[in-house]
């Protein structure tokens, strides 16, 4: 276990360095946007990672509701938290990219950023619900919320998509195809961030297991003290 973790750590560090190089130097410079376009490699790979993690949250929520397996509950929590970190990266790098390229920080008709914002809000409320709940069966409640959140995603997407067709947007959607070297750069960055996500999830998972064991032990201890 410990060795697997170390190997993953080394692989992650290597991949991230290679990915950084491809993003900043190896990939060709885009014609219209110039070097600023390189933000794209971090922005898109983080988005894909975040969406994957949120999908994993959805799946583990269902698994937990059906099987009531505590591992599923812990994984739901972990995937939501780490997914939220990557989602934050998307929401921060997006406007930083938008400003120099399209002149505005935020476009209300931009479907991708607005959908991501809605997802971000849903998962923040997921984590707040988990933290504030005093119910002993918070896993079930959180799982139900995870499912509701996932059900909402297609609606968010379609509503903003239609909204965009009615509102003129200064953001010109990138319709053209990517240079193949750019595609490779995106995929390498995605692989690197997926490894990072795996590493962080693994860490957070172990932390949560330890935390729960400590709480149980503390509860046991106060029970026994009370019995004395």
């Amino acid at each position: 276990m410990k060795r697997g973790f170390t190997i993953l750590g080394i692989v992650t560090a290597l991949l991230l360095s290679i990915a950084l190089y491809t993003a900043l130097a190896w990939a060709p410079t885009e014609q219209t946007m110039g070097h600023v376009q390189r933000i794209f490699y971090y922005h898109v790979s983080s988005a894909w990672t975040a969406f994957l993690l949120f999908s994993l949250n959805f799946i583990s929520s269902i698994v937990y509701l059906v099987k009531r397996n505590e591992k599923a509950d812990i994984f739901a929590l972990v995937s939501a938290e780490v997914g939220l970190v990557f989602c934050t990266v998307v929401l921060v790098t997006g406007p930083i990219w938008a400003k120099p390229v399209w002149g505005i920080w935020w476009d209300p008709a931009d479907i991708r950023l607005n959908s991501t914002l809605a997802l971000w809000l849903i998962y923040i409320s997921y984590l707040i619900l988990r933290r504030f709940s005093t119910s002993s069966r918070i896993g079930v409640i959180a799982a139900v919320w995870g499912i509701f959140g996932a059900l909402d995603v297609p609606f968010v997407f379609f509503s903003i998509w239609f909204f965009r067709t009615q509102h003129p947007s200064p953001v010109i959607a990138k319709g053209g195809s990517l240079d193949p070297k750019m595609w490779i750069a995106v995929l390498i960055n995605w692989a690197a961030f997926m490894c990072l996500a795996w590493l962080v999830c693994w860490t957070r998972y172990r932390l949560e297991v330890a935390q729960r064991e400590v709480h149980e032990a503390e509860a046991m201890q106060s029970l026994m003290e009370g019995a004395r």
């Binding site: 950084l20 970190v85 932390l207 330890a210 935390q211």
Partner: protein, 45 residues
């Protein structure tokens, strides 16, 4: 463009690592706290 566009590029990359770094720091603090709680349990248990 009055601000050098490269500044935006650097800002985005730095921001990404600040966000990841902050989360990892929060996890490290959590780990330290759990370790302290385990010590307390071991000594009193």
């Amino acid at each position: 463009m009055n601000t050098n566009p490269l500044h935006y590029l650097y800002a985005a990359y730095v921001a990404t690592w600040v966000i990841h770094g902050t989360y990892l720091y929060i996890l490290a603090r959590k780990a330290a706290r759990i370790r302290k709680e385990i010590e307390k349990l071991k000594s009193s248990g």
